[in-house]
């Protein structure tokens, strides 16, 4: 069974063709670095998000690799060009079978 968590996307629902739109994607995740120890001295295993991808009508427009240094509940703000109406899909994949998917629709005029 794979783990998942809450995510949130903020982006405009409509845009003018060829305009630049800003997208904010945040995911709920502890981003356990793998460098910390418990009070009993046991190493806490790494549990982080490894990659984030955004596809725009099934074409990849943004991708980011995450590492141990990234804080909890990572927020990514990026831009893309509104080329056509359709769906943007966001996917976070991480350690221990973590996967979260979110979608947002945009109407381009």
């Amino acid at each position: 069974m794979s783990k998942t968590s809450r995510t949130s996307i903020t982006m405009p629902a409509t845009a003018k063709k060829d305009s630049i739109i800003e997208i904010r994607a945040i995911a709920q995740h502890d981003m356990e670095s793998g460098f910390r120890y418990t009070e009993g001295g046991k190493l806490i295993p790494r549990d982080i998000i490894r990659t984030f991808t955004c596809t725009y009508n099934n074409i990849e427009v943004f991708k980011a690799d995450f590492y141990s240094g990234i804080g909890a509940n990572p927020l990514i703000i990026f831009t893309t060009v509104a080329v056509e109406s359709g769906t943007l899909q966001f996917k976070w994949i991480g350690d221990d079978g973590y996967e979260a998917v979110n979608q947002a629709r945009i109407t381009v005029s």
Partner: protein, 260 residues
């Protein structure tokens, strides 16, 4: 021009009357400041925008827990309290309060319901579930002024809380008041000392990388002055929390807040 002295005097008189009345009717301490005002514009934006505020994830989790049926009685919070938007509006601004002779914090009351009505084990302090429910309930009071007042029931607890606030503790031999009252607005290391009002809890503290309760924050200060920390959920914690809420009365709740 001849009327001016008269109207000037009259306006001063009116001002004095207004001050006197507001002093009696609404005895709110002057120059209260939420530590929100000391934050960077970026951190303020993170708190203000629900799409950026990480604490909103806990509010979402808390809402799910609110409706989750639990225990042998198969009861959820909503079975008794129905719609939290109505039933919990203003609740967080009144806690801690005395219920059946016991001083109860919001977290304590949630666990009281859980053990009593739901016949389920209490949530541990600082557990994700307890923080989520606390955040969800506190969120219903966002923007409302803190409404803790002194009354016959809580006077004794308030007195003890005030005593703790003013008492020196730990190897550094410092009281809460020495920093957060006498030196509020000055600097400790590189950061400004806030007045220490609990008006945004539970908070998403960037240093913690997670949500935390006011008691976690108080334990932070206690370990900072190298004092023995009060236990989570202890009567001493509740009394201190009560005094702090009373001291912050009138300040609008910002829950769930973001703090550096």
């Amino acid at each position: 021009m001849r009327k001016q002295p008269f109207s000037f005097l009259r306006s001063i008189y009116l001002l004095l009357v207004a001050c006197a009345f507001s002093g009696i009717v609404n005895a709110v301490p002057e120059k209260q400041q939420s530590s929100y005002a000391l934050m960077s514009p970026e951190n303020q934006a993170m708190q203000d925008d629900p799409a950026l505020n990480p604490a909103m994830f806990w509010v979402g989790d808390g809402e799910a827990l609110w409706h989750q049926k639990q225990g042998p009685n198969n009861k959820s919070c909503s079975t008794c309290h129905a719609d939290a938007k109505k039933s919990m509006r203003g609740t967080a601004s009144q806690f801690p309060k005395v219920i059946k002779g016991k001083l109860q914090t919001l977290e304590g009351q949630i666990n009281q319901c859980r053990v009593g009505a739901q016949s389920s084990p209490a949530f541990p302090y600082e557990s994700k579930d307890l923080l989520a429910l606390t955040a969800f309930i506190a969120y219903q009071s966002k923007g409302m002024p803190i409404a803790v007042t002194e009354n016959a029931a809580n006077a004794a607890f308030l007195k003890k809380g005030r005593h703790t606030f003013n008492e020196r503790m730990g190897q550094l031999n410092l009281s809460c008041a020495q920093c957060h009252e006498d030196r509020a607005g000055l600097k400790l290391g590189g950061s400004l000392i806030p007045q220490g009002h609990p008006n945004a809890y539970p908070i998403y503290r960037l240093e913690w990388q997670t949500l935390g309760s006011v008691q976690r924050r108080l334990r932070n200060c206690m370990s900072g002055v190298r004092a023995k920390q009060f236990e989570y959920g202890s009567p001493e914690m509740a009394q201190l929390e009560l005094f702090l809420m009373w001291r912050a009365r009138g300040l609008p709740l910002e829950s769930p807040g973001v703090r550096p």
